[in-house]
């Protein structure tokens, strides 16, 4: 059974103080429907990925709320796995198609999180960690900072080399009209930015953002001859311990290694076959480690390969985060996993405009929850 992507749309990401959750969901789903050339009545179910609506907005029952914005009173579900909520929503949507209960479904990732103070948001995001981490006074940047310290010491990597991740992603963001930040930054700028959790500085960290992204997927062979058909050929999930300190390694995410191994096998490809990918760069260190866990770079060489331009648009071999990644495009937590799919879909359709990776045939999305407790990998082909 082929899983076909019909519509794929992302809203602008940023501080969208004047756009409500309902309005954000409506914009994303309406446009995904328009792109599918379908009516709402042709959607069998809605899958929503979101992390913070309960914690920050006192709103649970999110499937029921947001299906009202779809315009069809169909079964609706919310999936949550911290920052992997979007990817998990898609994974479950795909499984529903494979089970045959639904034929065509909408998958929506959405988050509203900018209307809060830094300490409020920091506390809310630590819901993705463990109680031990919270009681130790750890924060999300803090947990990834502990990984960064270990990685830098083990492989002799410098803060400047890590900073090149943010620089690359901001460069890519200048080509993305939907990105939260569309300006370039420099290694020097990263080094001078305020420390958040040593050694991670402000510009090593993805921002707090509002935004939504939606896709329509179907198991039916509806073919829109005007657009190159893009299929999801693998959707795999793996988990690891919730706490960083209980992991086997602080410099590798086992969940990513496992999920991607399963995905490559399913898709019948190896790592080097990937042309373009969207990586979960919640922090600069995350992307450095991810490119190693996904098999693009040798262990310890992830940051250096990025600094050398091997993952950069127009000059690299495996292009990472053409959208600008989480750092430049923004990271509305629940929306990111679906935005990644939207970006790769546009890349494989040849419709990514200034960000186009020429001749892209195989795409990968890498969506991580918490500090690596859950990883969702999708592989797409045209």
């Amino acid at each position: 059974m082929k899983i076909n992507i019909l519509g794929a749309y992302s809203t602008k990401f940023g501080e969208l103080w004047n756009i409500s959750p309902r309005a954000l969901a409506k914009e994303a789903m309406e446009n995904a429907l328009k792109g599918s050339k379908l009516k709402a009545s042709q959607i069998d179910a809605l899958f929503v990925g979101n992390m913070l609506s309960g914690i920050l907005g006192n709103q649970a029952n999110l499937g029921s709320l947001l299906v009202e914005e779809l315009g069809a009173q169909v079964p609706a579900f919310r999936m949550e796995g911290a920052c992997a909520s979007g990817g998990l929503a898609l994974h479950n949507a795909i499984n529903s198609l494979k089970a045959g209960q639904y034929k065509t479904v909408m998958v929506l990732g959405i988050e509203k999180m900018t209307d809060h103070s830094p300490d409020e948001i920091t506390s809310a995001l630590m819901a993705a960690g463990s109680d031990e981490e919270r009681m130790a006074g750890a924060t999300f940047p803090g947990v990834y900072a502990l990984m960064a310290q270990a990685y830098m010491q083990k492989y002799n990597v410098t803060e400047e080399e890590l900073a090149s991740v943010s620089v690359k992603n901001h460069y890519h963001g200048t080509f993305n009209p939907k990105a939260q930040y569309q300006f370039p930054i420099t290694v020097d700028g990263v080094m001078k930015s305020a420390k958040i959790a040593d050694p991670l500085k402000l510009l090593d960290c993805s921002p707090i953002s509002d935004g939504a992204a939606a896709i329509v997927i179907t198991s039916e062979s509806i073919v829109n001859k005007a657009i190159k058909q893009v299929n999801i050929v693998a959707s795999e999930v793996a988990t690891d311990t919730l706490s960083l300190h209980n992991r086997k390694s602080f410099t590798s995410l086992t969940a990513v290694v496992e999920a991607s191994a399963k995905a490559y096998k399913k898709a019948g490809i190896k790592a080097s076959d990937v042309d373009v990918c969207e990586i979960h760069d919640c922090f600069s260190i995350s992307e450095a480690i991810a490119t190693e866990d996904l098999g693009f770079s040798e262990k310890g060489e992830g940051a250096r390969d990025i600094a050398k331009g091997k993952r950069t648009l127009f000059k690299g071999d495996i292009i990472c985060n053409p959208s600008g990644g989480l750092k430049s495009c923004g990271h509305p937590v629940g929306a990111t996993g679906i935005k990644q799919i939207v970006e790769i879909t546009e890349q494989l359709r040849g419709m990514a405009g200034k960000r186009q990776v020429k001749g892209a045939k195989v795409g990968l999305t890498h969506n991580v929850g918490g500090s690596g407790a859950v990883a969702v990998i999708h592989i797409l082909k045209n």
Partner: protein, 75 residues
């Protein structure tokens, strides 16, 4: 011992920042995470030996219970 310095804290630690958080390998081989207390700048090196201590976590809990928790201090 692996360390980081938390400079932007969560709400319940807002009056303590900046403070170090460490991951420590205990004698039985298991790891723990905790706040580092009674520290000086020279203690913030990977591999520094520490000892566990019982310290107050928060003054105001629900129903006015005082929370205590395990923290670490440099030897």
């Amino acid at each position: 011992m692996q360390w980081t310095m938390i400079r932007v804290p969560a709400t319940s630690f807002i009056d303590q920042a900046p403070y170090p958080v460490v991951i420590v390998r205990m004698q039985d081989g298991k790891n723990m995470i905790g706040q580092l207390v009674d520290w000086q700048k020279k203690d913030l090196v990977i591999g520094k030996e520490v000892v566990s201590v019982l310290r107050r976590l928060r003054t105001e809990g629900k129903e006015d219970v005082i929370y205590y928790h395990i923290k670490f201090k440099p030897i």
